[in-house]
Amino acid sequence: MAEALMNHIDPEAIVLGVDTDSREAVIRLLAGKLKAAGYVKDSFADAVLAREAAMPTGLPLGHAVNVAVPHTDPEHVVKPGIALATLKNPVTFANMEDPDEAVEVGLVFLMALNDKDRQIEMLQEIMATIQSEEAISGLMEASSLDDVAAVLK
């Protein structure tokens, strides 16, 4: 059994109820948290935004809330970790499967990846979480770190 997702997410990098209207603002906010906590280099935010423009990471889930999993190449990363944002109002990402299609995203997992084994574990944990409608609604309703931890433990 893989480690719980909560073990990969830094509590300092969880932001709940973000009130913004652009994916760039969300990515910069979370990248700033990861930078402050020592996970990524200065170049990380721009690199994630560039990759998102070329290779989007929006995942339509077929229920109320969709998810995005922005990430970038390992040279911008110091150590692996995940930042999490729940959004007050959805922002537009492009669909990973079809960049011309918009996906309204309410939940963002920004991943700092540079360790092959850890990143597979992290992604698998994220995918297992987002495949549970209960977990998604639990995260969207979370108003404290304890709420998030209770969903992701």
């Binding site: 990759r51 290779m55 889930l61 970038t72 990143q119 987002i130």
Partner: protein
């Protein structure tokens, strides 16, 4: 049936394609098909096609590759997973 070579592609060729490769390789094993998984970036697919029976990608692929391909998010989102596995199995049993 002999081993089938499947090329798994995604944006970076490291993250999502690994998750998909693990999921598909395991599921096909249960269905009696052994997969030799390879991985690459979607943009580099054309130079990795030697001996490949099928491409499974989470993102758009170049056109006219001459190898059967399936683009699906099913192994990330869970939606349509059984159908995607059926499609992959059917393609590999051809």
């Amino acid at each position: 049936m002999s081993k089938k070579t499947v090329l798994f592609a995604c944006g970076t060729g490291i993250a999502t394609s690994t998750v998909v490769a693990n999921a598909v390789t395991e599921a096909m094993k249960e269905r009696g098909i052994t997969i030799d998984p390879r991985q690459c970036k979607a943009t580099e697919v054309r130079s990795e096609l030697n001996g490949v029976d099928l491409i499974v990608s989470t993102t758009q692929l170049p056109s006219d590759l001459g190898v059967p391909s399936i683009v699906t998010l099913a192994f990330l989102t869970g939606m349509g997973k059984a159908e995607a596995l059926d499609k992959i199995e059917a393609e590999l049993r051809k």
